[in-house]
């Protein structure tokens, strides 16, 4: 019996600072729903834990009077995390998207925690560019689709090899400030070369090698006066083009710059969250007029839970209703090329980790001539952690 007790005791000591945080006054996750705040980690049995989430959609979409319907096996993601020693921990996420059409190491990083206020992180990082990029698991979200601003302007899920530091500093009674700051490989020419729609920053992500031997910087600072309210500011800057190679200068250095402001909070029983930001890309002079240099977008979610225990056979079940407002301007230099949409959601959660989502989306997009097309969507999706 003794070895078992010792093992459990040791495990508890090791696991406490990791999943429960070392300081009892600081039991909060670094990022709510982030890498080290997932349900599978509470069921840890050995040194390394395995978990993940799965997501399935059924989509009916209509644009300009044309209907499309499809079932989509959207994502199957595997998580793993391990406490290697008192100071070293590791976490990774492997993503299989659209029926393994795309397989991606989304995250794999090693943290060396010297103090709560200072840890060194290295590996394949989730770029701290807005809260949504750090916590975008479908079972956590109340809407089937990710915000357009996040996916099409900031490039969620944005992850890349890099090195930097993170930490959390208490302020006042229950307040805190957190920071993350990394040097990363940055974007590549795909930003302006790869999309038929013109400038699309996400098209230049996922560089396992730096194309120009000049790192980019990404960082985020948050301030939270108390649990339940947080404000974050993120920035990203760095060159995307191959302006130098093999010691020779080939071109002007051209940067991608991004700014994101995010917040979450609750008021009168409603939860609010949202992000807004700007993207700016230096465009080569020969392509000015064809490609956008400035983009912007925001989304705002309002949510309310209700009906806890309405279904007596599922004690943890509840419902929620929500609305999301979004607006994206893909080219701030011209009148067209934007998208606006509103999403209404009605969700059922049999438990906190699984969700059945019914969404209605209505919106309007314009092309570069500012010709508008109306669209609507009826989406049904299921997502669960495991």
């Amino acid at each position: 019996m003794k070895p078992v007790a010792v093992t459990l005791c040791l495990f508890a000591m090791v696991a406490t600072p990791l999943w429960g945080q070392e300081d009892t006054t600081e039991t909060r996750a670094f990022v709510r729903g982030g890498v080290y705040d997932k349900p599978y980690l509470t069921q840890l049995l050995g040194r390394a834990a395995l978990g993940g989430y799965a997501e399935f959609h059924s989509r009916w979409e209509r644009e300009d009077g044309i209907n499309e319907f499809s079932f989509v096996a959207k994502r199957f993601n595997l998580f793993t995390a391990a406490r290697v020693s008192d100071f070293v921990r590791f976490a990774a996420e492997l993503e299989f998207e659209d029926g393994a059409e795309e397989i991606l190491l989304e995250f794999a990083s090693i943290d060396l925690t010297i103090h709560r206020a200072f840890a060194v992180r290295a590996g394949m990082l989730l770029s701290p560019l807005g809260r949504f990029n750090l916590a975008h698991d479908s079972p956590l979200n109340e809407f089937t689709d990710r915000p357009v601003t996040s996916t099409d302007i900031f490039g969620v899920a944005l992850s890349e090899p890099g090195l930097g530091a993170l930490g959390s500093i208490p302020v006042g009674g229950s307040g805190r400030v957190t920071y993350e700051a990394y040097l990363v490989n940055g974007f590549n020419d795909g930003v302006i070369n790869n999309s038929p729609d013109g400038t699309r920053i996400p098209e230049g992500r996922r560089n396992f090698e730096d194309n120009n031997s000049a790192p980019s910087f990404v960082g985020r600072v948050t301030y939270s006066p108390n649990l339940g309210f947080e404000l974050g500011l993120s920035g990203y800057t760095g060159p995307y083009n191959q302006f130098q190679s093999e010691g020779a200068r080939l071109d002007e250095r051209r940067n991608v710059n991004l700014w994101v402001l995010d917040f979450e909070g609750s008021l009168l029983g409603f939860e609010f969250s949202g992000e807004g930001g700007f993207g700016n890309v230096d465009i080569p002079p020969t392509l000015i007029g064809t490609l956008a240099s400035d983009q912007a977008g925001f989304y705002l979610d309002i949510l309310r839970d209700f009906g806890h225990g309405w279904i007596s056979t599922m004690a943890q079940s509840h419902f929620s209703v929500g609305a999301r407002l979004e607006s994206v301007d893909f080219n701030r230099d011209i009148e067209g090329d934007d998208t606006r949409q509103i999403s209404l959601g009605f969700n059922f959660r049999p438990n906190a980790e699984s969700v059945y989502k019914f969404n209605y989306v209505r919106g309007r997009t314009t092309d570069s001539f500012n010709n508008a097309a109306q669209f609507s969507k009826l989406l049904f999706s299921v997502a669960t952690y495991f």
Partner: protein, 407 residues
């Protein structure tokens, strides 16, 4: 005594709301504009097989090319649809600049078209000094299949090169030599001069040549017909090295579908015939607009049976007219001289603003922003008719303009 029968206590009203919502379809689920009110509807009566090609071509027409899929090395824009808004005309920003030295297309200087954009690693062209320049607003592309199906003899019947009837209006065909790669089976293909029907000076004889050259010249996209990228002869380093996408950059099937797609595009329906417009219509004939803006033709045979033997109400004789000094570009194009322009069809004018963000761009370079302004720019052979227009009472002028604007 099942648990499940009593399990759900309240959420049904919400579900019911969703279902009722879904039932209120058109408002909630959005609707499309009527075929009569757009430039990209198919002509009625296509077969299923033709409809398949139409949809494929529609995609091809809208397909935007990126450097990764072959645009450039030098180019003007990235998609057919990026210049022809909603398959209609373009804006001033999309206008092309053609240049030459007299009748020499100035190939060694980058003529006959200025490509002022380039992908990374290539150098865009700049306008050489002292060349003859012609700025061309993209015309609409709907109805070109109908124009192609009008028998050449019917168009030539209106030509009056020596002004034999003495009305001051001549009207000449532009006889053009089609590119050697245009199959002889195409209308406007074949050896020897063919009747030019397309573009601002009717300098192109086939829809196929117009489209393939658009791929090559306007977008820098290679096809089976023109498999080598257009280069910038003004640039020191080879422009070709910057475009590494294998040629042809667009498959033959897509080119064929896009050509058939524009062929099968229907002109929009004209507006309602109000009394004022009917009166304007009479004035249109009376003062002589119809001498050039010939109301209608009847098509002959066509491979696409929906285009055969049908009325084409386009308001154009498809011939060249001397339009005077003010409109002259002083740059010949084929047999068209520097003062001649093809009579612009007036169909679809009623919808121009809807597809140009509320603006109107008229005439070959988009310089006029109202129909009245366009009429007042008419000179040369149209001088007499313009004077007749100016002599009308304000009310009559308004009725005539209203008629033209409602086409």
């Amino acid at each position: 005594m099942s648990n499940y029968s009593t399990a759900i206590k309240k959420p049904l009203p919400l579900l019911a709301l969703l279902v009722v919502g879904a039932a209120a379809c058109d408002t909630l689920l959005t609707s499309a504009p009527e075929d009569a009110d757009v430039f990209d509807a198919p002509v009625p009566g296509l077969t299923d097989a033709e409809m398949v090609v139409f949809l494929l071509g529609d995609e091809g027409f809208e397909e935007a090319f990126s450097p990764a899929t072959g645009v450039g090395p030098i180019f003007n824009d990235v998609a057919c649809g990026a210049c022809h808004s909603g398959d209609g005309r373009g804006r001033i920003e999309n206008a092309l600049t053609r240049f030459s030295r007299g009748s020499d297309p100035a190939l060694d200087e980058g003529g006959p078209q200025l490509q002022d954009r380039a992908i990374a690693g290539a150098v865009p062209e700049v306008l050489p000094v002292g060349v003859d320049v012609s700025v061309r607003l993209p015309p609409p592309v709907f109805g070109v299949g109908l124009i192609e199906a009008i028998p050449a003899a019917a168009i030539l019947a209106n030509a009056d090169p020596a002004d034999a009837d003495g009305d001051g209006i001549s009207g000449r065909p532009n006889w053009v030599t089609p590119a050697a790669w245009v199959p002889h089976t195409e209308v406007g293909g074949g050896s020897g001069p063919q009747l030019g029907r397309f573009s601002r000076k009717a300098q192109v004889s086939s829809v196929l040549q117009q489209s393939v050259e658009a791929y090559s010249q306007d977008m820098g996209i290679t096809t089976d017909f023109l498999p080598v990228d257009n280069v910038n002869p003004q640039s020191g380093a080879s422009t070709l090295a910057s475009d590494l996408v294998p040629d042809p950059e667009v498959p033959l099937a897509t080119v064929r579908a896009v050509v058939d797609y524009v062929r099968m595009l229907a002109p929009p329906a004209p507006g309602e015939d109000t009394p004022s417009r009917l009166f304007g219509s009479t004035l249109f004939d009376q003062i002589g607009c119809q001498n050039c803006h010939v109301r209608e033709f009847t098509t002959g045979d066509s491979r696409i049976s929906a285009l055969a033997n049908t009325r084409v109400v386009l308001y154009s004789d498809l011939l060249l007219h001397d339009m005077g000094d003010e409109l002259a570009d002083n740059r010949p194009d084929g047999m068209a001289d520097g003062r001649e322009w093809r009579t612009t069809p007036l169909w679809g004018l009623r919808l121009v603003r809807e597809f140009l963000n509320g603006d109107m761009f008229l005439m070959h370079d988009g310089r006029a922003s109202t129909v009245e302004e366009a009429i007042l720019l008419h000179g040369g052979e149209a001088t007499g008719v313009r004077l007749a227009f100016e002599a009308l009472s304000a009310e009559d002028r308004a009725a005539l303009v209203d008629f033209v604007e409602s086409r």
